[in-house]
Subunit: 324 residues, 2 copies
C-alpha cells in the first residue's frame, strides 16, 4: 500500500504504547453519534429504496441537482474514475493525495503532475483536490468551472470541502453535463471513516456508468442507515462546521507558537513546515501523538485536529517541551 | 440493476404490508450475533494489521494455504475477476448467478453459457458456482481440479459452500498456482449480508493484483471486526452448519408436500418446480413471504430457509392453503 495517514499500527510497532492520539489523518475526531441500527441494516442486502434514500439525503446536503452515486468511500470513486474513458493524458495538480495519480497510471493513463491550473489545460482528464490535501490550496468554484471548459473531463475531489460549502462546485454541477465529476467523502467530516462511504456527483450518463462499474450493493447497510441520518441532521453539520473552523485556527496558533510555519490549513487539518519532519514526527510520537509526513518533503508535517480537552492538553504539552 | 433476490422493497410496493419474511435470498436468517464494536471500527481507517487479522481468521476457516484477499462482498470479487487478464473467451456454467456473465461481458469478454463442465474445456476463463445457485448442482473438488488443467483460469464461486466444506477446493488451492481463483461470501452463511464482506482465494500474484485493483480500505471497520470474530467462532459455525442442513431437509419436505418437485437444494436454499412460478410467488406473497423467480424459467421458485418457529408456521400455513 502507498504511504497514507491512518497507519497507527506502524506507529505502535515503532514507538510502543496503546493510548495513541491519531492525528495522522484529516478525520474529525468528534464523530457523528452512531445511532441504533435496525437489524436489517446488518442482515439484509441493501435495497434499491434504501440506497436512493441515502443519495437523496446526500444530494440535499451537497445542494446539487446532479446525479449522486453512493460508493464505498471517496477512494472507491478514485478507483473508478480512470475507467470512465479510454486512457489518455491526465493532469493531476501536485502535490496532492497520492491515490489519484496512482489509480490513473495503473489503468494506463499518462499522468503529469501539474504545478498550477494553467498547466492542466488541454488534458483529457484533470484532477484537482479542493481544498487540497496536504497544502490547503483552495480554488473558487468559478475558477474550476472555467477550467472545466478547457479539459476533456474535470474531476474535483471535495473530500475536505464539507465544512467549506462555498468552495464546492456541486451547486453548479447541473450545468456542466458530463464534463465534471465531483468526489465527496463521508468519513472525514462525519468522523466515521471505518464505514467506507463516499459519493460521485456527475451527469446522468457518467453516473449510470459509475453504477455499472461499481456493481450492485457497493455500500453496506450500516453505512446507508448512518449516512442517511447524518446528512439529514443539518444542526449537527452546522455545529460541527463552526467547531472545526475554530479548532483549526487554534491548532494553527499552537503550531505557530512551536515555531512551525503554516503551509496550509483546512477545517480538518493543518500542514506546517518544521525543517525536519521525521524529527518532528518522532518528537510527537514520544507523546503517543501520530502525525503525517510526506515522502516528497523533508519538512512538511500534517496534523488533524485534537478531539477533546485531554487531547489538546497532550499536544500542547508535547509541543512546549521542544525538541528534547 | 439485474434481477436479484433481496428486492423486498418491490414486494412491499406490489403487495403492501411491512411484516414480510424475506426468503428471496439464500441468506441465513439466524445471523451471527453482532458483538459490541470498538469505537475505532467506526471512526478510523482500517489498519493493515486489522485486515491481515481478518484474512488470517478466514484462511483458517477455509482450511487453505492460499492467499486470502478481503473484499466488499463476493460481488466485489465478481466485479474484479474480469480485469485479471485481457478479455478472451469465457465459459460460465449455466444457469447460474447472473452477475458472472454480466460482469465479464461488460469488460469485453465473449461469454458462452456452458451446459456442463466438458463444454467449458479450452476456455480462457471458466466460472463454476459450487454449489450452484439456483439449481443446487455440486461438483467434487477433484472434478474441478481436473477442469482447472483444461482452461486458462478457473473461477469457483463458493458463496454457498460454507456449510458443505467437503465441496470446497480451498484446501487444495495451494497446488494450483495462479490458475484457480475461489470466491467466498461472508454474508450468506453468517446472515450478515448488509456488512458487504467476501473473499478471493488465489495464488500470490493474482492476490496482489486483486488487492491493487480493489485499492486501499476496500472493507469497512465493522466488517473487519465482526468477520474476524465470526470466522474464529468454530462452535457457532458447527452448530449453524448442522441446523442449516436439518432446516433445508425440512423445507424440501414442506415444499414436496405442497406438490412442488425439488430441482435442487443447498444448506441455504431450496429450488422447486411449481408449474407457474409467478402464481406460486404471488400465493406466498399474500402471506407476506417473498420468494425468488427466474426470468429464464416459467416454473422455478427458490426459497431460503425460515429462521424462527413463527416463520416456519406462516410458510406452512401459506402452503397448506393451496392456490386460493
Amino acid at each position: 500500500m502507498r504511504d497514507h495517514g491512518g497507519d497507527l499500527d506502524r506507529a505502535q510497532a515503532e514507538f510502543g504504547g496503546d493510548d495513541w492520539i491519531d492525528l495522522s489523518t484529516g478525520i474529525n475526531r468528534v464523530p457523528f453519534p452512531v445511532p441504533d441500527l435496525p437489524p436489517d441494516a446488518w442482515t439484509a442486502l441493501p435495497t434499491a429504496r434504501s440506497i436512493a434514500g441515502l443519495e437523496a439525503a446526500a444530494r440535499d446536503a451537497f445542494r446539487t441537482t446532479a446525479a449522486v452515486v453512493a460508493l464505498a468511500g471517496a477512494q472507491a470513486a478514485i478507483q473508478l474514475v480512470p475507467r470512465l474513458a479510454p486512457p489518455g493524458r491526465a493532469a493531476v495538480l501536485a502535490p496532492s493525495y497520492n491515490e489519484h495519480a496512482a489509480a490513473l497510471a495503473a489503468q494506463g493513463w499518462a499522468v503529469e503532475a501539474a504545478p498550477d491550473l494553467a498547466a492542466m489545460e488541454g488534458a483529457d482528464l484533470a484532477v484537482v483536490v479542493n481544498p487540497n490535501n496536504p497544502d490547503g490550496g483552495c480554488w473558487a468554484p468559478e475558477v474550476l468551472a472555467g477550467l472545466a471548459g478547457r479539459v476533456g473531463r474535470l474531476v474535483v475531489d471535495e473530500s475536505f470541502a464539507d465544512a467549506d460549502p462555498g468552495l464546492s462546485l456541486a451547486p453548479a454541477l447541473g450545468s456542466h453535463g458530463e464534463r465534471v465529476v465531483i468526489l465527496r467523502s463521508f468519513g472525514k467530516f462525519f468522523g466515521l471513516a471505518g464505514l467506507r462511504l463516499g459519493f460521485a456527483l456527475a451527469g446522468p450518463e457518467t453516473a449510470a456508468r459509475l453504477r455499472a462499474l461499481a456493481g450492485p450493493w457497493a455500500v453496506g447497510g450500516p453505512a446507508i442507515a448512518i449516512g442517511t441520518s447524518a446528512y439529514g441532521d443539518s444542526g449537527w453539520q452546522a455545529e460541527t462546521t463552526a467547531r472545526l473552523h475554530a479548532d483549526s485556527a487554534r491548532l494553527q496558533a499552537l503550531l505557530a507558537a512551536a515555531g512551525w510555519r503554516t503551509i496550509g490549513a483546512t477545517a480538518l487539518f493543518v500542514t506546517v513546515e518544521t525543517g525536519d519532519a521525521r524529527a518532528a514526527q518522532a518528537r510527537l510520537a514520544r507523546a503517543r501523538i501520530w502525525s503525517r509526513v510526506f515522502p516528497y518533503s523533508p519538512g512538511w508535517l500534517r496534523l488533524g485536529l485534537p478531539g477533546s480537552p485531554e487531547e489538546w492538553d497532550r499536544l500542547s504539552t508535547a509541543l512546549s517541551r521542544g525538541g528534547e
